[in-house]
């Protein structure tokens, strides 16, 4: 079995649905992070059989972690300080997402307007929709 060291300071994104780890890695732009990041795929899980997992080393947590609560309700965030778990929680999705995800509707004003923020709002049915065109969020 592959062994990855524990982190002393940082966050673990745990219980990612098996196969979705890379999508979340890209969504959070972890390729731009200067901290150490480990993406583990198909890790054995007592609870779910298999899962993906991301470990991010560093004092500063990545932005936009709260969106993960919308993308995958199984996800658990584990915040670690000095080698100890200080917080463990399911992220709650925010009402608005600003410039987290691009609207992919070619008919939307965001597709041509320079400098236009991509803003999604949680709809009454619990789905993020573009405030301009009502397009449903798409992260894949």
């Amino acid at each position: 079995m592959l062994k990855i060291e524990s982190i002393q300071n940082g966050v673990v994104i745990d219980h990612i649905t098996n196969g979705q780890g890379m999508n979340i890695y890209q969504l959070l732009h972890l390729e731009d992070q200067k901290q150490s990041v480990a993406l583990l795929q198909s890790v054995r899980s007592q609870k779910y059989g298999h899962k993906d997992l991301i470990k991010i080393e560093g004092e500063t947590l990545p932005e936009r972690l709260d969106i993960l609560g919308y993308l995958d309700d199984k996800i658990t965030l584990i915040v670690i300080r000095d080698g100890e778990v200080v917080k463990k929680y399911h992220p709650v999705p925010p009402e608005y997402l600003k410039n987290v995800i691009q609207c992919k509707n070619p008919r939307c004003i965001t597709s041509i307007e320079i400098g236009c923020d991509h803003i999604f709002k949680m709809s009454p049915s619990g789905i993020y929709r573009c405030i301009y065109c009502n397009q449903k969020i798409s992260v894949h």
């Binding site: 004003i109 597709s111 307007e113 400098g115 236009c116 301009y132 009502n134």
Partner: protein
């Protein structure tokens, strides 16, 4: 400052007040002939339109105001790459109110975020068309005497038919209404309308494919055109455009007081012989368009109704 971007920007009470205002204009046009003297309406039409632009201009002129603007994106600075935001910031310096049509969904909303004068959405792509909704509501109310407890059939392009989306959003706010959505599979109502409007409201609705079988059940029929400009693939348009054609003969199966509405322009979805049937309400909609837009412009400009001495919309 108020804008009209979505029909739901107005509460049901405000919507009823606008309809009442329009009814007062119908019977007292001369009383309103100068209430907008000295005011200017800018019509920013990035997409060709005959009736909507002229209707807005006619409405402003009927109130004593003046108009300026462009009728095509080719005549605007959009061809030079100017953003909607910059355009509306500039036009805000020239006019007191703006009516904007744009092929991209959400453009009028974007404009309203930066405009210093009221913005009216005069249609944004296949998305929404709130002033047409007010016209439709006024016409239905004039024909049926109410906006509640109606069975309304929507037929044709329900996917890109922005007038349908806007009218459905408004009619769910009145009690007891139910809908039949009559369309080919490819042009069904968009999922956001189902997920965010129809299901949460608990309203009764059905998606069907036969106009003939549905006609006898309806209090109101709303026909739409399959819009060539909304298709990326012309083959799809050609395949779907003649799916529903309403004829006078078919109307024999309908209720004798079932108005037939259509936002116009039509292509072949209503045959000309229907025009002489008393149920044809689409030219009444056109006339109502001027009255509604007069009421809307006056209300958003914060003008007092000379007959009541009151403003229709709270600022």
């Amino acid at each position: 400052m108020r804008h009209l971007i979505d029909p739901l920007d107005f509460t049901p009470e405000e919507t009823n007040n606008i309809l009442d205002f329009a009814d007062r204009i119908v019977t007292n046009r001369s009383a309103y002939a100068h209430i907008a003297d000295g005011k200017k309406l800018a019509t920013l039409f990035y997409e060709p339109s005959t009736r909507t632009r002229l209707s807005f201009e006619s409405a402003m002129l009927s109130l004593g105001g003046q108009t300026l603007g462009f009728a095509d994106a080719e005549q605007s600075s959009a061809t030079k790459g100017e953003t909607v935001v910059d355009t509306v910031r500039v036009i805000s310096c020239y006019a007191d109110i703006i009516a904007m049509r744009h092929p991209k969904e959400g453009a009028p909303l974007r404009a309203s975020m930066y405009s210093t004068v009221p913005v009216i959405n005069a249609g944004d792509g296949g998305h929404i068309h709130p002033s047409q909704t007010l016209i439709d509501l006024l016409t239905i109310r004039q024909r049926k005497g109410r906006l509640d407890h109606l069975t309304v059939g929507f037929c044709g392009d329900l996917k890109f038919g922005r007038t349908v989306h806007s009218l459905v959003n408004s009619l769910v706010r009145y009690p007891g209404n139910q809908f039949y959505f009559i369309s080919p599979e490819e042009l069904r109502v968009p999922d956001y309308l189902i997920d965010d409007t129809l299901k949460p409201s608990g309203i009764s609705y059905a998606e069907v494919t036969s106009l003939e079988k549905t006609l006898p059940k309806l209090d109101v029929l709303y026909m739409t055109r399959v819009q060539k400009e909304r298709f990326f693939n012309e083959e799809d348009y050609i395949r779907l455009k003649g799916t529903y054609i309403l004829t006078k003969k078919m109307l024999q199966a309908a209720s004798p007081d079932m108005p037939v509405l259509h936002p116009l322009p039509r292509v072949d979805e209503i045959t000309p012989d229907v025009d002489t049937d008393s149920r044809a309400a689409y030219f009444q909609q056109v006339q109502n368009g001027v009255y509604i837009r007069m009421a809307l412009i006056a209300s958003l400009l914060g003008l007092e109704d000379p007959l009541t001495g009151k403003k229709v919309l709270p600022c």
